[in-house]
Symmetry: C2
Subunit: 394 residues, 2 copies
């Protein structure tokens, strides 16, 4: 869309930004985003006022004293109005606010954070951002959706190590954050007595700890959908690739869903074939099918427990002369963007990341705003996306 | 590696973490990382001391007064020792430090940040994290390498909008950061008079503003390498896909490199064929070749100005019945991880992200530590990675 063929060496001068790799909508949307992010930062009329003119960044010399003089009140009164800590008469408040607005006074946000606990930033704590693609796409959505609400995102990787999950949740960095989205793999309720009351946390993913709100998609249902589809498409023996149920809740739930689908179809789930991989990446998927083929394992379909594994499996099969879907059907789970452009295009289960992020952010922002609503568990139903890798047309 | 085929329904209990999609090395490496990240946070013996026992997180009631009483000194003296702001006699300092250690006193890090400017976090400001994959892989490297140095990473997206680049660099959020890695598309020297002296910034990418250090790879050389390789592989007419030189420095430099390679090979660079796309993603690559084919454009090779475009182009060609590499050679630029697992595997130019991130972080941390070294420009040479998409074997 919007492309055009230019048969000349001269550069073409055309449309507006974004430039290099800029992924978002330029123009109005970007401006609206830039506008909307001004609001929450600092949280009061005054910072909104000054931020609306970027030049004010330079006028840091304006002090409480200047405001006090213009408003004809004491510095203490200005401080009480600006920080909403005192009980100042409405008329006086109005006078101070007008002086703040006229001078473009910007309160010291670091100092304010100390008092109000508002940082203008949330944390995103995930096991990794790496090559599986899942958390990278999740993080992108969190960063872009948070930006629209005026929040920056502090990202921490835990590698699924309990101590690091604990440190992210309980450590000093929390003081820089208004709240946290946390995908925990190892944290337990034993870690929670130390969580100060009221620090807003929304959990992402399978693991529930404490009474935090949690947003997840149904992993067992995802594997059930994919498995049932493979069986419908003619698979007799499905090789499951990836994930160690001894250490991964995701793997456990997805394997359970896979077995449930086998049983529902009258297949002996006890004979399920599973290649355990420690990683969830392309390499592991490729290596897993290579090993299975070398071992003479008989299979005519592969369920990758995520898309990166499935993409690697397709490639490993082809390296061994087995075509997808002609010789072996392959399906993944996650709905990564790139699966729509692979050869063959990959059948997968959409994990609905945009919905997960939207729901999780809404919950978190409500908690930050002090809402006491029922939160609890939001579990989104996955959706099967059938593509070429499970469609035999020839 | 480490995979094994299990022909039973029983879950296999085996190796250590990581669990779901955890990408890093578990065990010793993770522990070392967790250990090393303790050091720099807070920056003094006392926070190191308390962090080493996570239980101390709960004992927030310990105050300067408690330390002062135990040490038999004034609160002011404790404050001077803890914050290293005063000139306290060594013997007294030792007494205070011992009291701090015994009580597990944890200084208020927010308050300390105000005084010392150390946040334990750096900013990463990029146009987007989206589906091109480049910045997602870059961000993952920054987050994981920074974690090893005890730093969290605050990520902001600018969509390449100058005002948002400006706000990221100059806005209040900076007070939460020790320094910043900034990939700017639109910022100019006019924006810099407002940058307070000494805030550590290292630029990533093509755009130089002010006297900041910058780490980049040579975009023109990358396109030269890819183009020369396509010509060597037999390409007669190369279609370049992606990037608008009117708005993108990357596109400008990569097109210049492309033309230089054409000229070096005695081809008329004035006849270069370029499909301008506003985005740098899979969809745009696919749409671009579809348009070129529909327009009857004659080409036997495609240079995607990045890998996502090239992957989309391969797919668009196949949708039109043109195989890669048999009918059309395709090469990309960036060296995305996934290019090693596509069908066909994609020839690309390695942008050396791990080296870029390592150099940029080293420069930034040196600046944060107050180093006055010569920084300047670090430009890394790209490396061609030849794979199936440009290798005609049949």
């Amino acid at each position: 869309m919007g492309d055009s063929v230019v048969q000349t060496g001269a550069p073409r001068f055309a449309r507006p930004p974004p430039g290099r790799r800029a992924g978002g909508q330029p123009g109005a949307v970007a401006r609206a985003a830039a506008r909307s992010r001004r609001g929450p930062v600092g949280g009061t009329f005054s910072s909104t006022r000054t931020s609306s003119d970027p030049r004010q960044e330079a006028t840091i010399a304006i002090t409480l004293r200047d405001v006090a003089e213009l408003a004809g009140v004491s510095i203490k009164t200005v401080s009480e109005v600006v920080n909403r800590t005192g009980r100042v008469a409405p008329a006086t408040t109005a006078r101070v606010e007008e002086a703040v607005a006229r001078l473009g006074y910007r309160p010291n946000l670091s100092a304010r954070r100390l008092r109000s606990g508002r940082a203008g930033a949330i944390g995103l704590v995930v096991p990794e951002l790496g090559t599986s693609g899942y958390f990278a796409e999740l993080a992108e959505l969190v960063v872009s959706q948070a930006a629209r609400r005026g929040m920056a995102v502090l990202i921490e990787e835990t590698e699924g190590v309990r101590e690091r999950e604990r440190e992210a949740l309980l450590g000093p960095r929390r003081s820089q954050l208004d709240g946290m989205l946390l995908n925990a793999l190892r944290l337990t309720d034993d870690d929670l007595p130390d969580v100060p009351d009221g620090f807003p946390v929304v959990l992402l993913g399978e693991r529930q700890v404490g009474g935090f709100d949690r947003v997840a998609f149904d992993n067992a249902a995802a594997a059930r959908l994919a498995t049932a589809h493979l069986l419908d498409a003619g698979a007799r023996r499905i090789l499951v690739v990836g994930g160690d149920p001894a250490v991964s809740d995701s793997a456990t739930q997805r394997l359970a869903g896979h077995r449930a689908a086998l049983e529902a179809a009258g297949r002996p789930a006890a004979g399920a074939m599973h290649v355990v991989t420690t990683q969830w990446d392309h390499e592991s998927g490729l290596a897993a099918v290579a090993r299975a083929l070398a071992a003479g394992t008989d299979f005519d379909a592969v369920l990758g427990l995520n898309d990166a594994l499935a993409i690697g499996a397709v490639r490993g099969l082809l390296d061994a002369g087995r075509r997808t879907p002609q010789d072996v059907l392959v399906a993944g789970i996650d709905g990564l963007h790139t699966t729509g452009f692979t050869t063959p295009r990959l059948t997968t289960v959409d994990a609905r990341r945009p919905d997960i992020v939207a729901r999780a952010l809404a919950l978190l922002l409500a908690r930050i705003a002090g809402g006491d609503d029922e939160g609890g568990l939001v579990e989104l139903e996955p959706a099967l996306v059938v593509r070429e890798s499970t469609t035999r047309t020839s």
